[in-house]
Subunit: 351 residues, 2 copies
């Protein structure tokens, strides 16, 4: 590989010259469309050989310019730091590749300025579709896409500027709440001992989860008390503080705890780490996200999991025959534990 001059990449002109054919013939052969044009197999082989020898690789920029198809599929998400977003990214990549698209996913750190910036960049690269995941207010991004005529789907958080594909947080919340209530009763405790902790009151996922929480109580002819719902924020520090103040007031931890996000859950773990080891022994806890290590922490824990496979599949489905005026909100069920595990099998040398 040392001898080749690295500056100039070979083009179809080089291949044409080397093989003594014309650029059109080369183009057809290299695209595999040559059978349709009844080009002699011998010519085709000659060209393929020359291309091989020259290390020719198509310039997608030029092809894209000509065809006005970039072959790029874009997705923006906040970060990769939890299993949900990591899974989303992975699944998106896999399914984009199946569709012969080059996946390009970008993390924005939930910074609206970065979100706009990234979207503009992706659009200027002429992505053929854009998925927007976990963006608080996707409308400006939707509008950018609409202006560019690029199909755009909101994932995980709904928006008014495009169709949305969402996990059915309400139903999921009712289900997990129900499980926790059963466990609580089994241990001789009361439904009043269950607390839904974390999240932001005026935000979609939290609203849905609160609704589902109430649904579960209602199905038993009950209503959760005032103190049972504490939307103290998503981040670990907030949940940590909220728990600490409850502890200070009552002298103990709630007997049932439903954490509204893995980050809030992390805050809970941080706080309980400051307590004697068996402070959570009798507690029943649940969480709206799943994490492999969290699942092994030393207390009774139930984790809900979003179905990234279906989420992404639905989003792709919406992009075919995309209807720019579509504002539908598709709901995808969530499930427990390891039900989606297969997708993330590790390879032998993985680490």
């Amino acid at each position: 590989m040392a001898g080749t001059q690295p500056t100039r990449k070979s083009t179809i002109y080089d291949v044409a010259k080397a093989s003594g054919a014309s650029t059109a013939t080369v183009s057809m052969v290299l695209n595999g469309t040559w059978a349709r044009y009844r080009i002699k197999e011998e010519t085709a082989n000659r060209i393929l050989e020359a291309a091989q020898k020259l290390g020719y690789a198509v310039n997608m920029k030029a092809r894209g310019l000509r065809l006005s198809r970039s072959g790029l599929a874009g997705m923006v998400l906040p970060h990769y730091r939890n299993r949900f977003f990591a899974g989303l990214a992975q699944t998106f990549e896999d399914q984009a590749r199946v569709r012969e698209l080059c996946p390009i996913v970008v993390g924005t750190q939930r910074d609206p300025a970065v979100e706009v910036n990234v979207t503009e960049t992706l659009l200027s690269q002429r992505v053929e579709l854009l998925f927007i995941a976990g963006v608080r207010n996707p409308t400006p991004l939707n509008e950018l896409c609409a202006a560019a005529g690029v199909p755009c789907i909101n994932l995980d958080l709904p928006g008014d500027g495009a169709p949305s594909v969402l996990s059915d947080h309400r139903k999921g919340s009712q289900t997990i709440t129900d499980v926790l209530l059963d466990k609580l009763l089994q241990r001789g405790h009361s439904p009043d001992d269950l607390v839904l902790l974390g999240g932001v009151a005026d935000e979609y996922a939290t609203e849905m989860r609160i609704a589902g929480f109430k649904d579960a109580f209602a199905a038993r002819g009950l209503t959760p008390g005032k103190a049972a719902i504490d939307s103290c924020g998503y981040n670990a520090a907030a949940a940590n503080r909220a728990l600490a103040s409850r502890f200070d007031n009552s002298g103990r931890l709630p007997l049932g705890l439903l954490m509204n996000s893995i980050t809030a859950f992390e805050g809970m773990v941080q706080f309980t780490a400051t307590l004697p080891p068996d402070a959570l022994k009798t507690a029943v806890v649940g969480c709206f996200d799943w994490d492999p290590f969290a699942a092994y922490l030393p207390f009774d824990i139930t984790m809900l999991r979003q179905d990234v496979q279906t989420l992404i599949a639905e989003a792709f489905r919406l992009t075919e025959n995309f209807d720019a005026s579509d504002r539908s909100r598709i709901l995808v069920p969530t499930g427990f534990g390891k039900m989606f595990e297969e997708a993330e099998q590790t390879k032998e040398f993985d680490r």
Copy 2:
């Protein structure tokens, strides 16, 4: 946004027509190079305004074709499923953006066919540089890049076809081994009770970690025993099995355990979850990766952390004035615990 015909994106021609200027003038103004050409400020403003109104966005495909600069920076990595790779991706994106490049990172699931495929795709999109992280044998990918004249850096695993930026696993291993030995002695146990578990014997990171492990013993005038090093593989199931068989043979867990990867660590956690809760009470354990939840598991655990910031910064440094014949291996120190935490602060609404 409803009224605009979504099919056609506006071009500089549209902007030129709308503003009554020529395409050249528009181009200069839109590139910010207009001051150099002494274009009237009034004209410039008129053009900017028209562009704004038309929702003009540069077509990077065309610009790239003309300038032979794509504005794309590529990175391939195995997946996003642990904090190291997630951090790498995040940091890469941030630093690429600082350099005015559009980051495009792709996960390959450690599948060599996908790795080659992805590299070819990225190259055909004319990325201006490519980082290759966690690829077992990067040489074929390096050669593809070399043939295309694209700067290419191996991250985290070394290769013969390009410069590499690596964590100093050997030094890190010596340090953490030293810490574990101290703890073991403090508790009245013997250095022989420490086991290095996981990894693949003929693989770079494992080799370095074994060397560091021995260094730590050597510094005390000792040599680890035969059974002290068990490269049973990286994946959780393998570590799980290895521990199970040790347990069957000796009737107890090793008193000191140094896990060679977060996945092997996960296997250990899986196995110990089948034991009585206090089976690990007196154990001393370490791990060559860091995870926020793993850090809160109920036993004495020490985690080593790679410095993704420096890793990426060094890689970028190597790409400027890139020397295609450079085969240097740059070593980056690792550290303990939360030393690189600041980089992943969560926002208020994060989850």
